[in-house]
Amino acid sequence: MVEKEIVNKMKTEEYFVNMGPQHPAAHGVLRLLLTIDGEIIKNVDPDLGYIHRSIEKMCERDSYQQIVHLTDRMDYLSSHINNEAVCLAVEKGLDIEVSDRVKVIRTIISELTRLASHQLWWGVMGMDLGALTTYFYAFRDREYINDIFEETCGARLTMNYNIPGGLMYDIHPNFVNRVKEFLVHFKTKLPEYDRLLTGNVIFQKRTKGVGVLTKEDAISYGATGPVGRGSGFACDVRKKHPYSAYDRVEFKEALFTEGDSLARYKVRIMEMWESMSIIDQLIDNIPEGDIKTPTKAVIKLPKGEFYQRVEAARGELGVYINSTGTKNPYRVKFRSSGFSNLSVLNHITKGAKIADLVATMASFDFVIPDIDR
């Protein structure tokens, strides 16, 4: 009580600080207008538009095959999942069914993408909190996945492996073995992550009870992915609306109810384990079949609206296509997880310290081109 009275009596002047567009904690060109009173944050006002490339508008100009390649550049860390979302939406419009082989390969690569994304996030989370070493440990393991991708389709990050109707190429003969090698490697390394960062007292102090998002707020702000699930909002699209091969695998939805930064952290660590188990179940029995269901060279979707949701590494990605029956879509809208998650930031960081804002942002795992398409 006494402490509170003193705080009320001391009147200090608030001031503005521009955090970004070039700031180490923003991981991109995100500009936050902070109103600060000493170290205490009074208001966070995100200012977007620094990396706006009008992807949605460009989609209206392009054919359906070309749209796929644009989505790589949204959330570049889950590029394969973005591609998959568009392909699924187009396939829905064309009413074609891809083969089981395609479904399984897509799922495996999606999960590998999710793993790579979460590994990068883990490294960056440690770095944002001041433990620089985590970054390099994460990159050591991420390299395995990138090498697999490179061998499979020639690219390491923006893969363009999906096309409407299937896959660009078949998997490399080494694919299965290398994925298995990676799984063996990473199952010994993921506990190392826990030993290095999760159990650290300073880390726990920095994240526990920091940036608490309640379940109600998570739902009303539309926070999805690990952010929503850290608050106890069961929103895993893979579970609720299975697509590709997710209906044939067993996995647990990572759910924590605390809603703080540590809960979001734990969700991602648990998701890494679950992703590995999903790959484990699929990798040994990739069915035979065509890797491509033939489509016309110029895809024309029938008149109407098509929507496909997938679980990207950062949350739900929705692809809305409005077609008038021509070779170009009339309107394309991406519902990106980062944008909704960012809207929560001001709500949960009011009254926190600057360092808490950084910790919260790290646990949200923003990819700015995803927020600002």
């Binding site: 001041g130 433990a131 620089l132 970054y135 440990y137 650290n200 300073i202 600057i354 360092a355």
Partner: protein, 354 residues
């Protein structure tokens, strides 16, 4: 035979033979000062290299390995680059304070090295309040950091400087009290005497057993905080404040801040070595009979050991938040320290030292 001593003696005699006494004394001062400055510029540079190498070992990397074998000239090259760089600055800075700040920081570090006891012969000043002098001088540096943050006219620098102020002022208490605990055991503030006490009774960390070990742990925590290094590097927390108080500095002025950080680390490690690990004394007296053996080697080895420990902290731990930093000091370290001081007094009173 003691070769270093002979060399210094020869120079001393030669100087006094060719000059009047007053001039020779002043010349000698200048030579000693220049030698120390040169020595510590090199020490600072090689500590930077060591830090980069240690960081690389922790982070699955190779570290600098291009300039010279094992990268040994890398930091020299970096220093040359920094010297030749243009000194840019903001337009709306407080010019006088902005230019003054780096000198405060570097001078406070350099003055402190004057009393360093490298060995019995290798100590520029052996004043009878040596440990107090070290402590007093090394805390001037914070003024420079505060000035740098204030005069830069940058809000991030300002936040960093304010954090530095509260951090250094808080943790000085713990550093001072843990030093006082050990001084209680030796009964002297003179560095050479503190070390010589340990020749007979074993290193102070063994002599003082439980309270000494507690004091050592507190000293290491508070000392790391004093030098503004991780996990207490809130001053320049790069993910929060960019570069903190030295954001607006470039070229040599930045290099002064950078060098001062590493010399400060050397200072803290030396105090720890003097107070807990017997300074220049060899472990178990293994080189006591070898008269030509330079004792300063033991001092440097021990200091590097402590510095390695501090680097280990830096590359392992996440950073504390500012309120947690203050909680740690005022609610845990300071009370423990006070109790520890009393415990040490009781142990000395009852003569329970080993």
């Amino acid at each position: 035979m003691n070769i270093p001593l002979n060399i210094t003696k020869t120079i001393h005699d030669w100087l006094f033979s060719i000059m009047p006494e007053g001039v020779a004394t002043v010349t000698e001062w200048v030579i000693v000062a220049a030698a120390y400055l040169a020595l510590f510029a090199v020490v600072g540079l090689y500590l930077v290299l060591l830090e980069r190498k240690v960081a690389a070992w922790f982070q699955l990397r190779l570290g600098p390995n291009r300039v010279g074998p094992w990268g040994i000239f890398q930091t020299m090259a970096d220093a040359l680059k920094l010297v030749s760089k243009e000194l840019t600055s903001n337009t709306k800075i407080d010019k006088f304070l902005y230019n003054l700040a780096p000198y405060f920081v570097i001078l406070s570090s350099l003055i402190a090295i004057g009393v360093f006891p490298f060995s019995r012969q290798f100590q520029a000043l052996d004043i009878n309040i040596g440990i107090f002098f070290l402590f007093a001088i090394s805390s001037i540096g914070v003024i420079g950091i505060l000035l740098a943050g204030w005069s830069s006219n940058n809000k991030f620098s300002m936040i960093g400087a304010m954090r530095s102020g509260l951090q250094t002022i808080s943790y000085e208490l713990s550093v001072g009290l843990s030093m006082l605990t050990m001084v209680l055991l030796t009964g002297s503030l003179q560095l050479s005497e503190i070390i010589e006490v340990q020749r007979t009774g074993g290193w102070l960390i063994i002599q003082g057993h439980i309270p000494a070990i507690i004091a050592f742990m507190i000293f290491m925590i508070a000392g790391t905080a004093e030098t503004n290094r991780a996990p207490f590097d809130l001053v320049e927390a790069e993910s929060e404040l960019g570069a903190g108080f030295h954001t607006e500095y470039s070229g040599m002025k930045f290099a002064y801040f950078f060098l001062a950080e590493f010399i400060n680390m050397f200072i803290i490690a030396s105090i720890a070595v003097v107070l807990f690990f017997g300074g220049w004394l060899s472990p178990f007296g293994i080189t006591d009979d070898i008269t030509w053996f330079p004792e300063s080697i033991w001092f440097v080895i021990k200091v590097l050991g402590i510095i390695f420990l501090m680097m280990w902290f830096r590359w392992t731990f996440p950073r504390l938040r500012v309120d947690q930093l203050l909680t740690l000091e005022w609610k845990y370290l300071l009370p423990i320290n006070l109790v520890n001081l009393v415990l040490m007094a009781i142990i000395i009173w009852l003569n329970w030292t080993i």
